[in-house]
Symmetry: C2
Subunit: 368 residues, 2 copies
């Protein structure tokens, strides 16, 4: 299927003697235009407010992303557009844009950096889905399911490279340093996560190290670079960095809690991915620490021995809820969300700061 | 096995409450020290001469590479060191070092850039081996065979990120532009190669587009950045770039010819990888263009239909030789090698230029 797809898109242009591959970008444009269709609720309202503050910029970011995905090799805009066009909340680029606006930035580097941040995120997701053998993301089939693992790996590499080209186009060495370092930390976190997988004895510290690296590092860099390009003081840039880091941790904790949420399951939303993959997340770390002998045997069988049966997910959800692990995870998320808000104490008051505070405040109650 | 490996290397350091993973770097150091053990012959002599000119620098490049592969996550130095420590000719970093020496560069950025170039190459190989499902490289089992595909993908991402951090450390925006662009072109070439795979009707132009992107782009950038950091003129930097590009194409053509070489097979060297993977290379493009009806049916069955039998490789080698496709491929390689030499006309005469000319001159006769 993959080869067919690619080959039907190949046209040989005799005049130039070069390969010319054509793809209509219409589909991607439409998807980008409808990106961010969010459910209702306090968090959805906060995202809508933040998007409203950055609406023009966000459109420019989407166009920058589309430009980066252009290629004569048809598979690149197809795979890249499928993922990035499928939407997502665009929280990371919003952080960059909002930080830049907060400090009155005039220029176009915030657009480039916001796009670069989203592209790093997108490349990571393409590779993650290969590594996790994921079938669905954002309500659509994953790129690896549609095109194949090889295609996802190589297009991910392309997107990653393009994000660096975008950063370089800013000619700002400080943001280059921040973002290239973040990219390394993210990759390190992904490898660390693989190393802790299927190890039921993983600790909170191990889990936190993974979350800080694979998720919070990019949130932190996204906030920091927005401040840095605007000429914010070192203290202010650090505040935005810390906000991003704490928000990123809170976000991942909530994501991990939602994956064991009976309420999510009853809403017909996808749960249990982490369980099926043996990914050690905080709900399981807590549940295991509270477990009796029989429960410990259950967790060891399903995680370490990778032996899962039909009703196991249901039982896991029940244990995570009955041991208070779900609530404990959300309580930790709440702590981090509050630290994120405190970090903004020294940031300039105004609509931007209010919007970021509202995001952090509502992030723990979110259901998507 | 993978999980076992990772977990046995995990140590929890109570005092800091953080994960501390330890790996002895001894093995890697030893491998790096013995890297580049080359067969004899004119090309081997040329490589030895070039290495001799850059020997001190090459040692510093290896140490820089080792520093980049350091990580608290044990799998990273293990996987990265396995690949990069296994040697290879280090031609790309040698190009950077030699170009810098040619223009009298004083400083340490040539070390960083040479290391960055080799790291980009290494990350690409890790991902290539996953995509091609390769079992052996440089006489050793591939990382994907030993540790797994997931590990290779993620460690490749890490190495790729680290190479960018190294480039950024030079604070030279022009070389950042050159190398980040090259990385994108390489990834694009890899995707294009995937799209032409198993398409027996691929043309010389399609093949050349793939080779230019996936191989020549990094050779070109490696030469160019060595000149650029040394303050060479734009014309001189372009000369080094062109030398790299033509040499890269010649190299890939010879590699692709060697993969169908009966002589290689008789020497006990690995042949037939491209054939088994259905990778469209020039020997096959030429052989197919000369084929009679029965031979066309053979190529269509083995490439497009992916239906290969026990004796097919032998027959492919025979056809590639009997139709003159092997000689035609090497003749094209010779053309490009000569263009590489001509490109150096305007470069400063001296031992460095002589060494680069000798590499290009002997590259078509090489057998490894």
């Amino acid at each position: 299927m993959t080869a067919d797809f690619a080959i039907t898109n190949v046209r040989i242009s005799d005049s130039r003697g070069e390969i010319s591959l054509v793809l209509a970008l219409k589909d991607i444009e439409q998807k980008l235009a409808s990106a961010g269709n969010a459910p209702t609720g306090e968090f959805a309202d906060a995202v809508a407010t933040l998007r409203g503050l950055c609406l023009d910029d966000l459109g420019r970011v989407d166009r920058e992303i589309m430009d980066c995905l252009k290629s004569d090799v048809a598979m690149i805009p197809a795979v890249g557009g499928h993922l990035i066009g499928a939407g997502g909340k665009r929280l990371r680029p919003l952080l960059t844009l909002c930080a830049a606006n907060m400090f009155g930035y005039q220029g176009r580097n915030h657009i480039r950096l916001a796009a670069a941040v989203e592209l790093i995120h997108g490349a990571t997701l393409l590779h993650d889905d290969v590594v996790d053998e994921s079938k669905m993301r954002r309500g659509e089939s994953t790129a690896n399911t549609i095109w194949g693992n090889k295609e996802s790996v190589l297009v991910g590499d392309f997107i990653f490279s393009r994000s660096f080209e975008l950063m370089v186009a800013t000619s700002d060495l400080q943001v280059l340093k921040i973002l290239s370092h973040a990219a390394g930390v993210i990759a390190e976190g992904e490898v660390l996560q693989l190393a802790t997988q299927n190890n039921i004895k993983s600790t909170f510290e191990m889990y936190l190290a993974v979350v800080k690296a694979k998720t919070a590092a990019l949130f932190a860099a996204a906030g920091e670079v927005g401040a840095v390009i605007s000429g914010a003081s070192a203290k202010e840039s650090q505040a935005l960095r810390q906000y991003g880091e704490y928000l990123g941790i809170a976000f991942q904790l909530v994501d991990d809690a939602l994956d064991y949420s009976g309420r999510q399951a009853s809403l017909g939303k996808s749960v249990g991915d982490d369980f099926r993959e043996g990914k050690m997340t905080l709900p399981v770390v807590y549940a295991f620490s509270q477990a009796n002998d029989e429960e410990r045997a259950f967790w060891t069988r399903t995680f370490n021995d990778r032996h899962q049966q039909a009703d196991d997910l249901e039982k896991a959800i029940e244990l995570v809820e009955s041991t208070g692990a779900l609530q404990a995870t959300l309580a930790r998320a709440q702590d981090f969300a509050e630290q994120a808000i405190s970090a903004l104490d020294i940031a300039p008051a105004g609509t931007q700061r209010d919007a970021l505070i509202a995001i952090a405040k509502s992030s723990v109650q979110r259901e998507y």
